[in-house]
Structures are given as C-alpha cells and as structure tokens.
C-alpha cells in the first residue's frame, strides 16, 4: 500500500511539473468533466446515475499515528471524492463493514462537504455475524449517523446467495427486517431497496421471484468478461432482463485481477487499442449491457479514478467483434492458475493472525510473472525460486504466512468468491516448502 501511495504521489508531482508546457502532461488531453455517461430507468424515478460508481471498500489508508493498525487517510478521501464529483461521478457505495468498519464515516465526512442532492449514497445491511432484529436495527441506524444523512438513496441487503434462501430468511425475514425496511422505503428514509448477490442461479431466481412481494428496485451482481460464460453472470443478467430490474455491477475488474494480467494478455489487449488501458476493457464490457445502472470500482488511487472517468466519458459500447475478442481473452486468462481472490478482505481478520489476501495476492502475482516454477528442471527455476521466496517474505511477515494456517476454516464462509481458503493456503505452503527444501 505504502509503495503504491508513494508511486502515486510521485506520478502526481510529475504531472504538475510538466503541465507548464504540455496540456496536463498527457497525450490524452484533460480528463473530461461533463461527458460522463449517465443512465435513467423508469422504475428509478428521476435518478440519473453516472455509470461509474465509486466503491468505498478500498479507501486509501495510512499508519495510525497513535499506534497500532491503519486509519483512513481522510484528506486523500476528500480529494478523491471532490475530484469524482467534479467529473460527473455521483454514486457512492459503502457498507458498515468496509475498511475495518471505517468506510461509512470517512465517506460521510467527504460527501457532507457537498450538496446532498448532488450525489447518491448506497450502503448495506451487513448483519452476517449477528442477525438479530436488535443488532440489525442498530446497524441500520448507525449507518445514518456515520454517513450524516437523513435518507439513504440505495440500500442493499448485503451479500445474499451464500447459505441459500435459508440464510436470506434468517437474516431478513424471520427477524422482520424486510417488513421494517419496506416501511422505511415508504417513509422515504430509504429511496431504493435492493440486494447484492454472490451465489447460484437457482437462489437468484428464487429471490427475484419475490419481486412482487418486495419490489426490488435494483440488484447488485458480479459481472466481467471472464465470468460471463464460465460462471453465471450471463444467466444472472438474463434473469434481471426478465424482470426489468436495473443491475449494478461489482467486481468489474475482479479486484484488480483484470488489470494485473500476464504479459501476453496485456499485449493482446494493447494490440487492439494501444491507447486504452488494460482496465478500460473490463469497464466497457461491464456497462455495455443496457440494463446496467452503474459499475462500481474501488478506486484507491487518483490515477485509477482518472482512467475510469476517461473510459466512461462517454462510454463507447463494445462492438460484437470486440465482445468476441474479450470472451476469447477471458478464456486465455482462465488458463492461468491464479486464485480468484479479489482482495476484498471479507475473510479478515483471521483469528490466528494470517494475512490471507496478502498470501493469495503474492501467489497470483508470481503466477502472472511466471515465477511459479513447475519443477527444479525449469530453465528459469533459480530466478523464479528467489523471486517467489524473497517476495513472499516482503509481502507477508513470517508469522502471518501460510505455514501458520491451522485450517480452522472460519474464513471460507466470508469469501464471496467461494475460495476454499485453508486448502489454498496449505497448497501454497507446500509449494513454499518444496522451494525452500529444493525438492520441487
């Protein structure tokens, strides 16, 4: 994180210095302020939502000056929010549990400095660990305080799908929260009600079948060109079409995995559109379907925000050829044995101190860079071994590495990507052992 921030800061300075001679220091010209594509839907009244939505799950953090842990860098958040609003981004998506429970407050502080009607705010009921009515109500009310608002524009039942319909009933029906939330919608304290979804087609269809009863204003799903055919993104979208419910897209980049790609994939994408970023493909893909309201991106860095604004100002929908090209690219990416971790940190904190996402991300990085040798006979074995092991110690402190995973499996149930985390950690640990002992 520190590295990225430093690099980001350096890049910003660089831009300023150049600005004297070249317009904003970029061949691409200034970042447009008034060209952002926005979308309206009959069911959503006058709402005119920018197709780029700000995901508030990855706000920049910095070490706590008063001791342990990290805190949100509020100045940086304010800067990002101001810039986003100034360039037409008007949808902000947070949740009580994001960034160790600090996201709502930081988002609220930043947005409070702007007129309330200039943005839409989305937050969620994340009552995973304790779904009692009491706790759920407390969480709901706390969101208003943290965000410092009188009403919430888009309110989501956080992460349905895992645990099936039983889980939905337990968290929202049996405790009366669905009835309560519909009353709140009637009263105007919630303007739109929907849910975010990580799960199977069957559960999704069952939930949509309740549309008559609950009237879902919108639904948030995961959609990207890698998941489109292989998993169920296509099916989910088609179900939304059936009910004509607008969709919000999360994980368009798979937590950054679709911007950090192996070299041959980067080459392939760049050959098609040399001046567009690798990430822009995924964003254009996510917003090409017409029933999509907005695409969320958890932008930690100003450069990412600027790049995404460019991509969507205005949106150039994918042509049929481009779609086919992306699906083929998705198939190539899938051949790479990366672990589908999006660094959402829902699995954290591990009670035994393991830094799960850091381990998985290091592994993925090494896969993409070709530093996961198959055997000691590989021609690049020595270099790869060193890169993997040295990088491992750099990315993850020794006491937080995979060797300390006891396999209690408390993490897996939080993983929206359904990764069997202990199995992956043990597999990585065995790989590390064989590298260390040179027995690969």
């Amino acid at each position: 994180m520190g590295l990225g921030t430093a690099a980001g800061a350096a890049a910003l300075c660089g831009c300023k210095r150049k600005a004297e001679t070249e317009v904003t220091g970029s061949e691409l010209g200034p970042v447009p302020t008034d060209k952002m594509t926005c979308r309206r839907f009959p069911g959503l009244g006058d709402d005119n939502v920018s197709i780029l939505g700000y995901g508030c799950m990855r706000w920049p953090t910095m070490p706590n000056p008063e001791g342990k842990g990290d805190i949100i860098d509020q100045d940086a958040v304010n800067g990002l929010v101001d810039y986003a609003l100034a360039h037409g981004v008007n949808y902000f998506d947070t949740a009580p549990v994001y960034v160790q429970g600090k996201s709502e407050k930081a988002t609220g502080i930043a947005l409070k400095r702007h007129p309330r009607e200039s943005y839409y705010i989305a937050t969620k009921l994340s009552n995973f660990s304790n779904s009692s009515r009491e706790n759920s109500l407390a969480m709901y009310r706390r969101s208003f305080e943290e965000l410092q608002v009188e009403y919430i524009d888009y309110y989501l039942l956080h992460s349905l799908g895992g645990g099936g319909m039983d889980n939905f009933r337990k968290r929202f029906v049996d405790n009366g929260m669905m009835d309560f939330l519909m009353e709140e919608r009637k009263a105007g304290r919630i303007r739109r009600l929907g849910f975010s979804f990580h799960g199977s087609q069957e559960v999704f269809d069952e939930l949509l079948a309740l549309h008559d009863q609950y009237h879902w204003d919108f639904v948030q799903i995961q959609l990207n060109y890698v998941d489109w055919h292989g998993s169920n993104a296509k099916g989910l979208y088609e179900s939304l079409e059936k009910y004509q419910i607008p969709g919000i897209i999360m994980e368009p980049l798979l937590g950054g995995r679709l911007s950090k790609l192996p070299d041959h994939i980067v080459k392939r994408l760049k050959q098609q559109r040399p001046e567009s970023s690798v990430a822009s493909w995924a964003f254009r893909f996510a917003c090409t379907p017409e029933l999509i309201l907005t695409v969320l991106s958890g932008m930690t860095y100003m450069e990412h925000l600027q790049d995404n604004i460019r991509t969507y100002s205005p949106l150039v929908p994918l042509t049929e050829e481009e779609k086919e090209f992306l699906f083929e690219t998705g198939r190539l990416i899938k051949q790479y044995p990366t672990i589908p971790c999006n660094d959402c940190k829902y699995c954290m904190p591990c009670p035994y101190g393991i830094d799960i996402p850091a381990i998985l991300l290091h592994y993925n990085k090494c896969v993409n860079e070709g530093n996961v040798p198959e055997s000691s006979q590989d021609p690049k074995y020595r270099e790869a071994r060193r890169a993997f092991l040295v990088g491992y110690d750099r990315s993850v402190p020794k006491l937080r590495q995979a060797s300390h995973c006891i396999g209690c499996n408390q993490c897996s149930k939080h993983c929206p990507q359904r990764i069997n985390i202990p199995r992956q950690l043990h597999r990585i640990d065995r790989f590390v052992e064989s590298l260390k002992q040179d027995t690969l």
Binding site: P96, V97, S129, N130, C344, M348, P349, R400
Partner: protein, 502 residues
C-alpha cells in the same frame, strides 16, 4: 617492505573474517570459511592437528605473525593503536615483561577450559572475543545497511537484496561484547598490544614458541645509536633500546621498528639465540582437574512471561472486513535439557568445545541459535524456536563452526539426528481450548512423527490431538514454532543430553 606485506595481509584477513560474521546469506563462507578454522584455539579444540602444527611451525619460523595477521582481535587492536598514534606520536615505551601475570592467566584459562569450557576461557579467547564484537556490534550495522538496500531493491522490483531481521539475541552477550570492545579498545589506544602480551592465553603460548623463532627482528649494535625511536613506536613495548634487546615472547613481528629506524639498525633475520633462561612451562600440570560443569542448567533468568496479552482478540459486536489479529510473542518454554544443534553430538561435547564466538549465531538464517544466558554456558549458543525452527535443508552452523563444537553434517545426516523430542502440553492445545480443528504440527513435521488422533477414544468426531512418535522425532522444532497456541506452545521440544541417530 616487510611491514607493508604484513599490513596488506592483516587487512585482507581482518576484512574477510569480519565479513564471515556479517554475511548472513552464507555465500562468503564457501570462500573464506577456512579463515575461522585456522584460528589457534578453535583449531586446538577441534583437534585440528594439521592446523595447530602449521601455526606452531609458522611461529617457530617467523615469530608471532599469527598475532599480527591472522588474529582478528590483534588486528583490531592495531587499528585502535594506529588511531592512538595519530593522536600522539612516539607514545610507547619499553616495559618489563609481566611474566607471572601471563602464566597465571594461561593457567586459569587452561583450568577453565578443562573444566568444560568455563566462562573465563570464553572471555579470554581472542578470536571468540572478536567474534562477539563483530556479531553484536558490527553485524547490526551491516544488516541495517542491507535492509536499506533491500528497501530500495523492493521499490525497483529487484530481488537482488532481501531484508533481514535485526535483533539483539542476548543482552548479556551484547554487554560482554561492548565491555570487551571498550576495555581492549582503550588498552590498545593507550598502550598497543597490552592485552596480547599480558592476558591473551594464545599470545602467551605463541610467545613461548616465538622466543626461539628462526627469523626475528635483531638490533645491530654497531649501527644503533640508542635513540630509542624504535622503542617509542613499539606497540608491544618489547624493545629495550638501552640494552639493545628485544623480548621476542612479546614481539608480534609487526615490522614497524624496521621501518622506523633511521639508521637501518634493525633487520628481520636469523639471530644467534642468546642464553635466556626460560622457566619450563607450567601450564600442563593440571590434567586431573577434569570435572564437568554444574548440571543445574536451566535457570532462565529472563522468563518474564508476558501474561498481559492473553485475550488478544476481543469478541467484536460486528465482524468488520480487514485488519490483522494481534500476534502475541511466544515465550521460551522451560526445558529440562537445553537444545544444541545437530552435529554437536552432546551437550557436554558442545560445552567443552564451543568458545562462544557467535559465528553460528551470525549465520543461522532461521533465528534459532541464541547465546545462552545460563551462567554455566554463558554466551554459548542454544536453540530456541520462537522466531523459526531448525529447517531440514539448512546445515549452516555445522558448516561454519571452527572449533568442532558442531561437527560438519550433511542434510541427510541431519534428517536422522535426534537432538530432542517433542512434548505435548494438553492445556494449551487449540482443538481442546478453542474447539478449532488444527493439526498444524502434524502437517509440518518433516519426519512424520506426529499423527492426529481423536481426543476421546472411539469417538471419531471428537477434537483431534497430536500423538507423537518420539522415536521418529528429531527435535527440529517445526511443531513448536508453528503451533498456534500463544504465548506458550502446546507442543515443545525437550533437549537430549546426547544426540542419537535414528
């Protein structure tokens, strides 16, 4: 010319030996590892007859060049003396030999050594004294420098440097190193080779031989005008310019006087042996006092159990995303018998041979070797598994040990040497205390000595606990280090007095 050769060789040896203590990657040992092994006392303890004979011959031929070139503590004193000389020129003066002090120190040293590597022997042995200084005081600087480079390398996406942990393994050893440096440094600054010629046991032994060396600096009385310039620049204080005599037992053959003399009256050559009457060495008469050091070993002075951080993770109202659980530091278990590395044969063999030079501690990549704080084996390394465990692929300590306290072993040897055995501590075991399945000890045991069995006989669904086959256990500590129970592991390694092959 001779002096320049001596200085060049001394710098070469000094830098290389120091690097042995600084290079935690272990790459330099392949090139310069032999330099530690030709140190006099280590070679003697390792019963490295060839080296001892060679050093004795070297001294018999050329005088105490060992002290001027090979001994790092000697060269370090020369550096201090050189700085002292810059502050004040011609600062030395001849002093008479304090022979009684030298022989008493030697006698004490030998007694201490025979008594099983007592503290005095370790304190006085010159190479080990230097090793502690290099390891405790220079290595951290080197490592910080390395970590700086690693920091830059990381930012440049290079794997050329990797970070290493800088930590003081034992406050006692650190204190001893500082005290040694201060005392010897001040002595050297003021009076040159005072330590070598009054205290150092190796200096006394070699001095005895050097009296009769074949080549030595000799004053030509025909040329000498008695100006005394040589004496005032002799850091060994061994030139009696008035009587034109040199005390060869103290002369370290530094050749400074040869260059200093303006009349060329001193030359390095064969000399007719004057009939000095030497008292016959009385250092060999103490063979019978071979009693083994006190065995009440494990009184750990500093087991201040940090009990404050027991409830590390507070039950939270709401599970939020991200963050890292606090990891409580592990506490050293109270072992019946301490652990010494594979290749040491036995605690006793190790205690008798180790001079506490810290070379093995310097190269241990797993943070396992730590100088002991136990008075009976103060500063000698022992094994602890709080920071890592004795990894199956590593034999570095046995590769570098110059004294034979840790005999060379191969990876294959290591996998079959039992240095201790694991002991299960029921009250700390996570499946029983937290109700979480674990088995991390069994998963990482390199010899497969641990199986997980149901804690309730016959009930296959009861929490699984480790069953240790002590016959297969080699005591590497993987289970202890990787045990999730903190601060006290639920499985720890108990040392063996004598190592066995399994």
């Amino acid at each position: 010319m001779l002096r320049k050769i001596r200085v060049a060789l001394a710098i070469f040896f000094y830098v290389a030996i120091t690097m042995l203590f600084l290079d935690f990657t272990g790459t330099l040992h392949a090139w310069f590892g032999w330099m530690a092994k030709i140190q006099f006392l280590p070679a003697l303890l390792a019963l490295n007859v060839g080296v001892v004979v060679m050093l004795v011959l070297l001294t018999a031929l050329f005088g105490r060049v060992y002290c001027s070139v090979i001994c790092p503590l000697g060269v370090m004193q020369d550096i201090f003396a050189w700085l002292g000389k810059k502050a004040k020129k011609n600062r030395y003066a001849y002093s008479a030999e304090k022979r009684w002090l030298r022989y008493i120190m030697l006698l004490l040293f030998i007694v201490s050594l025979l008594a099983g590597g007592g503290i005095l022997a370790k304190l006085l042995a010159p190479y080990s004294a230097y090793g502690r200084i290099a390891h405790s005081l220079l290595a951290p600087l080197w490592q910080w420098g390395n970590n700086g480079l690693a920091y830059l390398a990381e930012r440049a996406d290079s794997y050329a440097f990797y970070g290493t942990e800088v930590w003081i393994r034992s406050a006692t050893t650190f204190g001893v190193a500082v005290a040694t440096l201060l005392i010897i440094g001040i002595l050297a600054w003021r009076g040159g080779r005072t330590y070598c010629n009054t205290i150092c046991p190796v200096g006394t032994v070699l001095g005895f031989i050097a009296r009769f060396s074949w080549l030595k600096p000799v004053i030509d009385t025909n040329k000498c005008n008695g100006c005394g310039l040589c004496a005032r620049n002799c850091k060994a204080a061994c030139i009696n310019s008035k009587e034109h005599r040199i005390d060869y037992s103290r002369c370290v053959a530094c050749m400074d006087c040869l260059d200093k003399c303006k009349r060329g009256a001193i030359s390095y050559r064969r000399a007719v042996v004057k009939n000095h009457q030497q008292p016959v060495g009385d250092g060999t008469a103490t063979q019978d006092s071979l009693h083994v050091g006190d065995t009440s070993r494990r009184t750990f002075l500093a087991t201040t159990a940090v009990a404050t951080a027991t409830a590390a993770i507070k039950a939270q109202e709401m599970k939020v995303d991200g963050g890292l659980a606090t990891i409580v530091d592990k506490v050293v278990p109270d072992r019946q018998t301490h652990l010494v590395p594979p290749g040491a044969w036995s605690a006793r063999h190790f205690a008798q041979h180790c001079t506490a030079c810290q070379l093995c501690v310097s190269v241990c990549p797993n943070g396992v070797l730590v100088p002991s704080t136990d008075l009976t084996r103060l500063m000698q390394p022992e094994m602890r598994y709080e920071r890592g465990y004795c990894r199956p692929e590593c034999t570095k300590c046995s590769d570098v040990c110059p004294t034979g306290a840790i005999r060379p072993i191969t990876r294959e040897d290591k996998s079959s040497i039992q240095i201790g055995h694991a002991v299960w501590v029921k009250k700390n075991c996570i499946p029983l205390t937290d109700g979480q399945p674990c088995g991390n000890c069994a998963r990482h045991c390199p010899t497969g000595a641990i199986q997980m069995i149901p804690s309730v006989e016959g009930d296959k669904r009861s929490p699984k606990i480790p069953a240790i086959n002590t016959e297969r256990c080699i005591g590497c500590g993987a289970c202890e280090h990787l045990c999730p129970a903190r601060p006290f592991s639920a499985i720890y390694v108990e040392g063996h007095e004598r190592h066995r092959e399994i």
